[in-house]
Symmetry: C2
Subunit: 399 residues, 2 copies
């Protein structure tokens, strides 16, 4: 019998078993949201030449305050073949290479023009409006490290240096199995004592918001044979989530079925509300979660334990962004467990404001589905008062 | 000649033209991240019966402190056909309907058992561990409203009430066109004065992080003919983004080409850094953005103007979540424009801490690609000091 553990210890144990998966090569247009698995170096200097940052004229500093002769023009993509001579100026466009010898680019609006001569301002700064060659990065320097998130900006970096494919950490495959004899499929009409399976579609949608592909869902009846078959067929996924049947009741066959399938139990039961019966184990390279079947418990355990495991396996930072927000109303906590409550965080006059969403029972998605965060509330004598600072995490898909 | 406008006015103007698109019917597994376009009502009561919330026995309150006879068992999915008689108890599993007449469910751990009799605790509360029928929502009540985000929780709601498809706001199609004679494709080796086009792949990746599908990218040379053809071919997209050629320079042909293509100009130039040359217009149902070609300007304008337009067209809240964070280091602002700077926000001891990422020039993705936010800095006399509270927005894909 394992001891009930604290939610933070539970998360630590999950993450201790969620090392990044091996790398694969992906095309650039599938790189976003992944994590680099190879170092990338600059293929040449950036900027690759002394680059004009404004439309204007390229000149010598010694010509400040003088009239100079316009001798030609260089557009972006073009090049001025000769060296710039003192007393002359070359018109230059943003993004074009400055002519050899040019010491400044003077913006068009700072010039007085007469025919093919322009008068320069009295004051010029060296390198003004010129981005010197290699000032961002020099050829050969590392620009992306293994472990760097491949943000849109990083995709821009990869494109800059000519990479149309990149080695990235593989994303985990996820298999979701709902158990429970009271469940019917979404498209079926439930009998009087039955309900539709809302958990598998909900978690599949959650996984999609996390950027996971290759998510498979299925259902197993509450019998040892059905569970054994389902566990056998789910060996290929790095993440296996079973929903329901995980408490200590007479029909809670999941812990026994997992043991018989060779799953090493790591913890079972966490001092949290909801989600107390949460189970975590592994077999070979597979992380196995047993989630309670109550939809709010199921959603919470996926947010707090499965999603961080999925992110960590994909090489990403495990936990989603969060913050602290001021409670807009009183809230009473019963019992001694840490409570995680769905809520809405909105910008307020003095930082974020948090409104917790009251659920009728632990199956009540109906009054909570507008949540954009999960708040963490310690048990408090009396109640949490309006204005109290409460920690929260954003739900997936909010950014 | 239009007046240069404030960045907040610019965003207001964009959003004033970005009403939600018409609805389409999507399968439930493609609903996540969309917004509902129809009201959904509960198909029956939830819970649909008086539902046991724990494993235990269903009893009368008047039997508190008594020994009662176990007369059978009801599992989840099953039903107890007779009414419960006083002096008796029915074993019941979590999720099962309570027998008619049952007033409380007593958890197994609170019972003393001898053979087929159990002793109940001295104190029982009415309805304890029973979720009464319709306590979450009654049949026919509205549960999802048009405009509600289809979160994972909302997908669970839809599955509960038997909806395997839903009317949702359509997502905009996005067409991205890079202009600039200095640009070559990612897979090509650039000449000495050329650079690879990093903007189109970067923005396509950004769009993907926003959940947009149907993103097309292309390139047009800096000639009136090429621009006209590109604009002609891009009529089907609700969002059209042209990159480059948008300043007032001699080779900046985009404003003229847009005018000739029938695009009504709404604003051109914004008092912001980066992204001053930003242009916004529309033709029929299409919103048209002219973004500066400098990669950091381009990325910023997409984050602050195009992404909110895309979200608003899809019926979502326009702006991403953000907050305020304490600056970890001093930062000097030159000039009088509002500055938007890439940075990293991390949790600190007293809320979020913000480290701004210094870029060498406005093309420098290399030193900024690890950013997870964009901070907004007002011009300040002197400099922003460590500890100053700075507003930020999360970059797409961070949650």
């Amino acid at each position: 019998m394992l001891k009930m553990i604290h939610p933070d210890q539970a998360l630590d144990l999950v993450l201790a078993h969620a090392a990044p998966l091996p790398a694969e090569t992906v095309p650039l247009d599938d790189a976003i949201g992944r994590v680099a698995a190879e170092p990338i170096a600059a293929d040449r200097d950036y900027p690759p030449f002394h680059r004009a940052m404004m439309d204007g004229v390229a000149v010598y500093l010694s010509d400040a305050g003088q009239w100079v002769q316009l001798v030609g023009e260089v557009a972006a993509g073009g090049q001025w073949r000769a060296a710039l001579a003192p007393g002359t100026a070359v018109e230059i466009m943003t993004g074009a290479p400055a002519p050899a010898g040019a010491e400044a680019v003077v913006p068009r609006e700072d010039l007085t023009r007469e025919g093919d001569r322009v008068r320069l301002p009295d004051e010029l700064r060296g390198q003004q409006n010129i981005a010197p060659r290699a000032s961002a990065v020099a050829a050969g320097q590392p620009i992306i490290q293994p472990g760097d998130p491949l943000s849109a900006l990083a995709v821009g970096v990869l494109a800059s240096v000519g990479r149309d494919a990149v080695r990235a950490v593989r994303r985990p495959r996820l298999r979701i199995i709902s158990t429970g004899s009271e469940l019917v499929d979404v498209a079926r009409e439930p009998g009087a004592a039955q309900i539709r399976d809302s958990n598998a579609p909900m978690l599949a949608a959650f996984a999609r918001a996390l950027g996971l592909t290759g998510v498979a869902t299925g259902r197993a009846a509450d019998t040892p044979d059905a569970l054994r078959d389902a566990l056998d067929q789910a060996r290929d996924a790095e993440l296996l989530v079973l929903i329901g049947g995980v408490s200590a009741g007479r029909y809670d066959l999941v812990p026994q079925a997992l043991a018989e399938a060779g799953v090493e139990l790591i913890f079972h039961k966490v001092t949290q509300k909801p989600g107390k019966p949460l189970l975590f184990g592994r077999r070979q390279g597979q992380l196995v979660f047993g989630l309670p079947g109550n939809p709010l418990s199921c959603h919470f355990c996926f947010h707090r334990y499965v999603a961080p495991a999925a992110r960590a396996l994909a090489g990403r930072r495990a936990s989603p962004p969060g913050g602290a927000a001021r409670l807009t109303h009183p809230w009473r906590i019963k019992g001694s467990r840490i409570v995680f409550q769905l809520g809405r965080v909105e910008p307020g006059a003095d930082g974020h404001e948090l409104t917790l969403l009251r659920n009728a029972d632990s199956a009540d998605l109906f009054n909570t589905h507008r949540a954009n965060c999960i708040a963490r509330l310690k048990p408090a004598p009396g109640q949490w008062e309006p204005g109290a600072r409460i920690d929260f995490e954003w739900l997936a898909g909010e950014v």
